[in-house]
């Protein structure tokens, strides 16, 4: 192969790869740009590439329903994540240290529970919530988010705890620390990065949820993804508000994902891919 040929090959790869990357982000950028357009500019379409940006769509979102839905999203995601870590991390530690054989069976159950279509959980939860008054409550959503968050925490943290050398814990034990103290003082601080990664993943899954919230909430506990869909039904299509709402919903997710991009795929595949 001559140098010229190789040069052309590299140039071709470069153009192809960056065009593909552009294809991946352009649809997303279009929505963000749309959120800064007036209704007039939105319907004038691309013929007005130059437009005067406006914040009126965002200002239009400042109403009790939407603000409450955003608070609901934040509260349910954060509380469910915290609960899952608090309950799941000690269990994952015990699973890693004590029960390696059972750990495989538990692992299989966890993988399956993560793979099951949400509708399989929604039907029974809906029936029970209807009877005990948990429909359209944040508590109800927090509980149902545990179905995926708790298994995610146990799964990822178990893998991580198995990688911590036991010798460290033994050293603490020899110095007279109790088992619980060893876990809290030695193991947990060592696991801080893994705990943060797991927490972010739990948060993303809860924040991104649409299906559970659609069925288990009505108005009081509706989350932002459900609320933004309402702009599609009432008084025609409010495209500006839809775009602004969508942009607001995705911004925390995007920032967090980019910050932890290295661990995202291994987390999303529950460790099947590293």
């Amino acid at each position: 192969m001559t140098r010229d040929e190789r040069g052309i090959g590299t140039a071709f790869v470069r153009i192809a790869v960056w065009s593909l990357a552009l294809l991946a982000v352009l649809p997303f950028l279009w929505l963000v740009i749309m959120s800064f357009k007036t209704a007039d500019d939105i319907f004038a379409g691309s013929s007005r590439l130059l437009f005067k940006p406006t914040l009126e769509n965002y200002q239009g979102l400042f109403m009790p329903d939407f603000i409450r839905s955003f608070a609901n999203s934040a509260i349910t995601s954060l509380v469910s994540t915290t609960l899952a870590l608090a309950i799941g991390a000690p269990g994952a530690y015990a699973l890693a240290r004590a029960a390696r054989r059972q750990s495989r069976l538990v692992g299989m159950l966890i993988l399956i529970s993560r793979m099951v279509p949400p509708i399989a959980f929604t039907i029974p939860y809906f029936l029970v919530y209807r009877n005990i008054g948990l429909l359209d409550t944040r508590t109800g959503l927090i509980l149902v988010y545990l179905t995926f968050n708790l298994s995610l925490v146990v799964w990822l943290m178990r893998g991580f705890f198995e990688g911590i050398p036991e010798a460290l814990e033994e050293a603490a034990r020899i110095d007279g620390a109790s088992l619980w103290r060893t876990f809290v003082v030695i193991v947990l601080p060592l696991s801080a990065p893994a705990l943060v990664t797991t927490a972010v993943l739990c948060f993303l899954y809860s924040w991104n949820d649409f299906f559970f919230a659609l069925i288990l909430t009505r108005s009081q506990a509706a989350t932002a993804p459900v609320q933004v869909v309402n702009f599609m039904n009432y008084e025609g299509w409010e495209w500006g508000k839809i775009a602004a709402g969508g942009t607001l919903i995705m911004s925390p997710v995007l920032l967090l994902s980019i910050a932890m991009r290295r661990y995202l795929v291994s987390g999303m595949t529950a460790g099947a891919v590293k």
Binding site: M34, F43, P117, I119, I258
Partner: protein, 321 residues
């Protein structure tokens, strides 16, 4: 974050060794105490986990044996025809139609995501400029909240505001909205789903490409392998496992497809985009036929369990090989 690996024999033997050591050197830790401690940590989490996942699934199975409908709550305890819903599964033409639609959607999206993902991974692997920025750009579609992805494609498919239709209009082409025509609606969903998830397969394949040993590539070069031979006999065998795992994950996830269909077509026009998951949703929360929809869901759960077991087999087979 290594999970899914069976413990090695040496690792399994370790606790015993260290426990003896602890027993000899510190006075406060005995074997029973340690056992009790681990059990104390383990039991609550397993109980809660079973309570939030296993128990609801059991309830789902029980409900699938009743004719429960929300308009007739007493039917929740009617077990006079436990197989009734399952017999209905065999004769429900709309369900069979939905399974066929599901098969078409799954096969098309998985195949496209694998092909585009593989192509993109091979290209990105060769690009040396700003690799981190490049990977971040590709990350965007798959980390967006699914409802936002659905909104984005709703915009792109709406002729009055879509940049594509502005282009068509300028060129004097009359193109109907893809989501409102029975001939193109499913394709429209496939395109949106492929955009959302090809980065996922790409990143998995890219990670596998990174572990391709340099010596193997060089050896193949020295032996005079052509580019195609290199790909077929060196690269492909090396990433086979990653391809399989990525494909299976996408296959399972394709069964859950919901927000795109809910926002773009609502299963229509007619029911050409009504996949099984969506049909179940309609039966349960549109028509309130909870008993029957539970039976369909049990069917879906069995399908997903079979696919998940396949993933575990593949991953473990590779770990022990």
């Amino acid at each position: 974050m290594g999970a899914l690996q069976p413990s090695s024999p040496t690792a399994a033997a370790m606790p015993g060794v260290t426990e003896d050591l602890a027993l000899g050197l510190d006075g406060n830790g005995d074997f029973d105490g340690r056992r009790r401690f681990y059990l104390l940590l383990l039991v609550p989490v397993l109980a809660i986990l079973a309570g939030v996942t296993l128990l609801p699934i059991c309830y789902l199975v029980v409900t699938s044996l009743t004719p429960l409908s929300l308009t007739n709550p007493l039917s929740a305890w009617n077990f006079s025809h436990p197989a009734g819903n399952y017999i209905l599964l065999a004769t429900d033409a709309r369900l069979h139609q939905s399974l066929w639609t599901q098969a078409k959607l799954s096969i098309a999206t998985v195949a496209l995501q694998m092909l585009i993902g593989l192509g993109a991974a091979l290209l990105v692997h060769r690009e040396t400029r700003r690799p981190d920025l490049l990977r971040t750009l590709f990350l965007v579609p798959m980390v967006l909240p699914p409802i936002v992805v659905a909104i984005i494609w709703k915009v792109l498919y709406s002729p009055d505001i879509s940049p594509f239709w502005w282009l068509f209009h300028t060129l004097g082409l009359a193109v109907p909205a893809p989501t409102t025509s029975a001939a193109t609606a499913l394709t429209a969903i496939v395109v949106a789903d492929t955009w959302e998830w090809f980065p996922f397969t790409m990143l998995i394949i890219l990670a596998a490409l990174k572990t391709l040993p340099e010596e193997m590539v060089e050896a193949a070069h020295v032996d005079g392998a052509s580019r195609w031979q290199m790909f077929l006999f060196v690269t492909l065998p090396h990433i086979r496992h990653a391809l399989l795992v990525a494909g299976l994950f996408r296959l399972i996830d394709s069964i859950k497809a919901f927000p795109l269909i809910y926002i773009l077509t609502e299963g229509g026009p007619g029911n050409v985009t009504e996949v099984t998951n969506y049909y179940t949703f309609t039966q349960a929360f549109g028509f309130s036929y909870i008993g029957y929809s539970s039976a369909i869901t049990v069917l879906l759960v069995l399908l997903v369990i079979a696919l998940s077991v396949a993933i575990v087999r593949i991953v473990e087979g590779r770990a022990t090989a």
